[in-house]
Symmetry: C2
Subunit: 477 residues, 2 copies
């Protein structure tokens, strides 16, 4: 009975992707809801994806000279107040500690929604001379934003992330760093998670509270929505002036430092689910999959099957993240479904006859293709297939973006195309009013102003006045 019910337990992705998403998060045991409203518990299978993202991104950061640090989770209200735009942006969604150690606090402390204020305060204390610069610090930590509507990984009140905060001698150097980190995020998305992204600058309306410029990477989900997957901000001196982060420059004069910050979060796990998943469930990119290869022996009771499976497992486990499924309460069929739902990239099936022939069957999660291979060549075959699966997953997403990115020359086209979902390329005059109007009438927001501009028309898609930029638009998660 359990077998038959299995696939039914997951909502059809084409009927109700929101419910499908929740089903997958729970059934693949990535995370679960908790008694703390809006906050999830990340289970081992979900957390290991995060660990693999951390390992990769952290080493990329360190290659560029970034060092890890840790700053307090609690920020005094007075610090949050120091940068006007920042406090306006974040104050409405922070959680406040007002009592501690059985006493009422004199000043409220907020749980960090992001750490610009507390970190910039310390930078002011630590910086003296241009010789000290740059500060290239990062922290891996939890942050809290009191969202009204939440969804596991995608919009959780508490989430895990890294936040890099750098200060520099010159605006040029800081701007370079902003783009350097954006490039690392593109690398993480595309080469680690097999998620192609569009990228560019956010509009004034969509930029980070307190930033001069915000750059973003945006993925496209299975159903053609935009998913912001990482941002990198250039602050100029917006924080360093009110926080007095001064240094003696090479000319012996006092100057304010130039600043950046940049972050990716456990939201990337949501992006992985939403970009790669299908009707059978999760589909994990091989490079971050907690289990890259699952070995399911068939007719386990037959002589020599378990032993051979154990032998192969022991050998391959040194090279890949392996799982040997010896559960005797489930049939092979149930196990196949189960591991497909959990998104394991590659499955090995092996029964008595295969063993006799010195072969086994490899099944790809991405194409469901079955390949008979010699046991002697297993390691090489797996290596090649994991590589091929990564590429294919990337290409599937790439194709989806290509097929669902459309050009709108005027507002009528925009509205019509907008109903299909996907990305829209359209010209924009540069005014916030047009962005706001578009959002109001279509629920579509600007995603980014891509670096590679195309000339679609001379006029803004909304107001018809002279166009300044080509913008990519889309409904978001």
């Amino acid at each position: 009975m359990k077998e038959k019910d299995f696939v039914k337990e997951i909502t059809n992705i084409d009927e109700d992707i929101a419910q499908w998403y929740t089903d997958i998060v729970l059934k693949a045991e990535l995370a679960d809801y908790t008694d703390t409203k809006g906050c999830i518990a990340i289970k081992p299978y979900g957390y290991e994806i995060w660990e693999n993202i951390q390992k990769y991104a952290d080493s990329k950061f360190k290659e560029t000279g970034v060092k890890n640090t840790y700053f307090p989770v609690l920020i005094p209200e007075s610090l949050l107040q120091k940068e006007k735009d920042h406090v306006e942006g974040f104050a409405p969604e922070v959680a406040w500690v007002t009592e501690a150690g059985e006493e009422k606090l004199e000043e409220r402390l907020c749980i960090r929604p992001t750490s610009e204020t507390i970190i910039t305060t310390m930078y002011a204390k630590w910086l003296n001379s241009w010789r000290d610069l740059p500060f290239l610090y990062n922290q891996w930590c939890n942050v809290l934003r009191w969202e009204k509507e939440t969804r596991p990984f995608l919009r959780s009140r508490e989430f895990l992330w890294q936040e890099g905060h750098t200060i520099h001698e010159t605006a040029e150097e800081a701007k370079e760093r902003t783009l350097q980190m954006l490039n690392i995020y593109i690398d993480v998305a595309e080469n680690l998670l097999a998620i192609p992204v569009i990228y560019g600058k956010k509009t004034e309306k969509e930029k980070f509270a307190g930033a001069d410029e915000t750059y973003t990477i945006e993925a496209m989900t299975y159903d053609g929505r935009a998913l912001q997957a990482g941002t990198s901000h250039y602050f100029g001196q917006n924080f360093t002036k009110p926080f007095e982060v001064k240094f003696q420059n090479r000319e012996g004069k006092e100057e304010y430092a130039y600043q950046t910050s940049w972050g990716i979060s456990t939201r990337l796990i949501g992006a992985v689910i939403m970009a790669h998943g299908d009707s059978r469930g999760l589909k994990l990119p091989p490079k971050v999959a907690p289990i890259q290869v699952v070995l399911v022996p068939i007719a386990m009771h037959k002589e020599g099957v378990k032993e051979k499976a154990e032998e192969i497992y022991q050998k391959l486990n040194k090279k890949f993240r392996m799982k040997l499924d010896l559960r005797d309460q489930y049939s092979p069929g149930y196990k196949f479904n189960d591991w497909e739902m959990r998104g394991v990239p590659l499955r090995i099936e092996m029964g008595p006859r295969d063993i006799e022939n010195g072969t086994c069957i490899l099944v790809r999660r991405d194409t469901l293709e079955k390949i008979t291979v010699s046991i002697d060549n297993l390691e090489e075959e797996i290596n090649n297939l994991l590589e091929a699966i990564h590429k294919n997953m990337f290409e599937i997403c790439k194709k989806r973006i290509a097929e669902n990115t459309r050009v709108a020359h005027n507002f009528e086209e925009f509205t019509k195309i907008g109903e299909k979902g996907g990305f829209i390329k359209a010209m924009w005059c540069g005014n916030k009013e047009c962005e706001e109007k578009i959002k109001e009438l279509t629920a579509i927001k600007s995603r980014c102003i891509p670096f590679e501009q195309e000339h679609i028309s001379d006029v803004c898609v909304c107001c018809g006045k002279k166009a300044e930029k080509m913008v990519i638009w889309g409904k978001q998660y």
Copy 2:
């Protein structure tokens, strides 16, 4: 001038170790005070020690089947209330979130001081059958305890730690796990940090709030105080009963699971400072030192010196965590002092004459011994010396413990010996009243009941009644 002042800037360790400690934390740039009272910012040089501890401990945990997870930082008050001893122990020192998203909360949320309550709640949801057991989950995270007196690393309101939480089918298995993790902590202290520890069971008075049994590792500081460096707890069913963590056992009957938890924290960085430091400053164990070897070229302006230094640095940097000090605003003498203060285990000095001879000078931080070696043999020499330094640092601490552990047969002896500091071995009747009296009269607390018991006398050192156990006592940090 700067050179002369250098050593003076650090308080004499034998005169005022508390001030020496603060000086070292700040001057070696391990951490700094912040605007959030009682909370520190951990700077790169301090954080990298923590990263090295994490890497080692995490891999040891995983070898025993432990998986990482993440649970919410906020715990509803009602959950904290569920285990009587636990709430009594922790409620007085938690911070409360009472407002969030501009609204007053209906129920207060505390910032986790430890996560037994929220994790056990989830375990109740996830556990069904004995087949699901054990759950071997851990999280690396921040916790908050509203301490009145704080000290960087040693007693910070916020600190970083790992907390492992396991549940098991049987009491035996859970007890075994408790000791298994204690053994990993001994391994971390001794083999990674070069800190020998005493270990054993805490008395009823000193055990964790809610535990049946608490096991501890205790280091001895430079000045002979005890420093609790890690604990492992056996809970029995104390939490699983009120939280209803039930499973169908092998006989098909409902049963409550048996539980453990265990933790080490950034306090270990404080232990490293306090166990190894000396009058010249920090002394870092080679296996966790962010910089294992610093190369200081002498007469940098002379032809070929910088180039040779660069060449050697590039080669060795692949094998060791290296620093090449090319700062031209400081003299070699200043640099020597600086790196000694920062505790770098090994220094390479190299001037024009050395280069001519194909040699350089290695200086050990632990003994200050200078060794002339051939440049061709550098890698091997460094390898051997780092190993030797680790051993020697361990032996110095071991000797300190041996010389400062004394036996007390009666209360008079206890008081007299207690004034000298160090550990005291003395018999104890098993009653809390005697522990409390000893603490009141001498400010000395029980550290642990060691596994290896010695028979010192038949009677309790305090009340003179029949003794139950030999206990190790000591003043603490």
